[in-house]
Amino acid sequence: MQCLRDIGRPRSPLAALLVSLLAAGCGSGPSDPSASPTPTPTATPPLTASSVTGRYVLEIVPAPGCNMSRTPLSFPMVAAVAGTSPHPGVQVVLDGNPGELELELLFDNGTLRGGLGTTGDGVLANEALRLWMHAVGNGSLTRASDGRAQLLTGTLMGYVALGRPNDDEGALGTCSARDHTFTLRTR
C-alpha cells in the first residue's frame, strides 16, 4: 500500500514509469505461482491540494431562509494548487475572468475552507443572473471518476445578493445566512 500512496500526483514521465514499475511489484504477480488469482490491491491515494486541479463547475444555491430565487447559479471555474506555507492552498477562479469570482481555499485533510468573493460589479452566472457574494465556504472533497478531487456538499456563510444582468446589486434580493450551499464538480 505504501508504495502507491502518491501515485495521483503529477510527475515527470520518467518518474511515472518508475512508479508504474514499482506499483506492479507491489501486488502478487506471475512470478509467484502459489498466489491465488486475486486482483492486485488498488489502494486509493489520499487526496491532496493538488488533487483539486483543472476545470470545474461551481454551483451556488442561496440558503432556504433567503427570500430570493433558489435556482442554482453555475459558473465555469479553473482550479490550481496555490502555495504550501503556512498551509496548503487551492485557488479556484472564474474561467476567463479570474478576478470576477475567486475562491481562495485552505486544504486540510481532505477538506477545503476559505473565502469566496466577487467585486462590486458582481458576476454573471450561466443562468443570466448576476451574483454578488462574500462568504466563507467549507466542505469535504471526494474523488471524481477521473481521479481529481471534487466537492459535492459545501456550505457558505455570508452575504449574497442577486440581480438581473444590468440591475443594481440586490435588485432581486439580498441575504446574509450561514447555510447557503455550493458544489464544485469536475468538468
Binding site: 433567503c66 427570500n67 430570493m68 496555490a82 502555495g83 503556512p86 498551509h87 492552498g89 485557488q91 477562479v93 479570474p98 478576478g99 470576477e100 469570482l101 475567486e102 481562495e104 481555499l105 485552505l106 476559505g114 473565502g115 469566496l116 468573493g117 466577487t118 467585486t119 462590486g120 460589479d121 462574500h134 462568504a135 466563507v136 456563510m157 455570508g158 452575504y159 445578493a161 442577486l162 444582468p165 444590468n166 440591475d167 443594481d168 446589486e169 440586490g170 435588485a171 432581486l172 434580493g173 439580498t174 441575504c175 446574509s176 450561514r178
Partner: protein, 426 residues
Amino acid sequence: MRKRFVRSAGASSNPSPRRGEGLGEGRIPPPLLILLLLAALASDARAGAGAASGAIHVRANEAFAPCLGPALQAFSRESGLSVIVDVGEPDPTRGADVVVGDDSELTRMLEGGVADLDTTVDLGALPWVLVVPAGSPAGALSALAPERVAVLGGAAGRAARSSLQGMSPERLRVSRDAGELQSAPYALVPRSLAGPGEHRPSSVRPLIATAALIGESPRAADARRLLSFLRSERARRFLTPCLDAMPVAAGTAGASAASATAASYARSVVDWWLPDCSLTRNGYNDPSQVLGSPDAARLEVREHFRGIMSLGQGGYVTVDLGDTAIDGPGPDLRVYQAVGTEPVTLYAATGAQGPFVLVGLRVDCGERTPGFENLVRHCDFELRGTGLAEARYLKVEDGEIYPCLAGGTNTEGADIDAIEILNQKP
C-alpha cells in the same frame, strides 16, 4: 483599477440604467444633481474669469450631496473659490478633487491610495429612517407597506437592503435616484432622501460622511483649503442640520481598563493562514503584529503602515489571549482594525485546537477609535448566544472577502491591529 460600469444616480428618466450605457461622465444636469456650481459669487473679484474650469470638483453620493450645499456655499463666499458638486458613488472619481462617501464606499479608495487617508475628515453621521404615510399604525415596514418599498442602491445601501432580506424582492425597489426615493410613500432611506410622510427611526447603522482628497487632484491646494474648512467648527454649523455629530466611541483603546482590571490583549499566535495570492500581493503579512495593544500607524511614505496584519481574501489569525474572556455585561471582546472598515468574522474556543464557535459573522469593523486619527477602528463582540461562557483562543478571519486578483492594494482584507478582552475572568 477594476472595471466599473458607469452609473449616474439621479437620472430619473432611466431608473435602471443598463450596465455600460451610463449617462456619460456623471455630470448630470440639474434637477438637483450636479448640485451646485457655486460660482463664487459673481461679485467676488477673486473668483475671476474661468472660475468653473478652476473649480474644485466634489463627488458625493446621493445621500450626502444634499447635506453639503450650505457649507460649500459658505466656503465659496469666504475663499472666492468655486465648487462643483457631482452626485454619484465616489468610486470611480470621475475627475473629482474631493470625494464624500460612506465607509462602505471609501475603504477601497483609501486603501488603494486613490483617496488620501491623511486628509480624511469625518463630517457627521446620517441616520436611516423608515418612511411611511402619516398616521400609519406601528409595525414593521414589511407588514405596513401595501406596495413596493424603496431602498437606496449601491454600496452605501447594502446594510439597509440586508435589513429587509425578509421581504420578497418583488416588494422592493432598489434605486439610486434621489427623486424616486423621495417620492416613495414607503421607503428605507438615509434621512436626507426621505420624502413626505412620517419618518421613523431605523436600526440600520448610520452612514458616516467622510471627505477625502483625491491623490491625483490637479487642484490639490484648493481642495485642501476646502477640507480644512470642512474640518472647522464653522462648517459644522452648516452641516449639522443635515448630518448628526459623529457618534462618541464606546471607549478608547484599552477599554477594559474601565472595569478595574488592566487592559488585556492577545499574547501569542497559535495559527494563521493567508492565501498564497494574498501573501504575494499584500505588504503586511506578519501575524505577530496583531499582538499587544493597538499600535497601527501610518509611515512617512504614503500607503505604508506599521503594526497591522492584512488578512487578504479570507485569511485568518488564531491567537491565545493568555487571559480568559467571559460573558459579562456589554461586549466581551474587541478587534482593532485599521485603514478603512473591512468586516471581520470572529470565532472563539476554550482550547487552542478548538472547536471554534462562531461569535460574529462579517461584522463591520469601523467604529472610530479615539486617539488614532481615523486610522484605527474597532468592532465589539459578545460571547452571549454562542454557547461559550468563556474563551481564551480567538480566530479572527477576514470578512471583506474581496477577490485577491482584483484587489490592487497591498492591504487587502481586514487589517488587524490588536485584539482585546473587554470582560476578563477575574
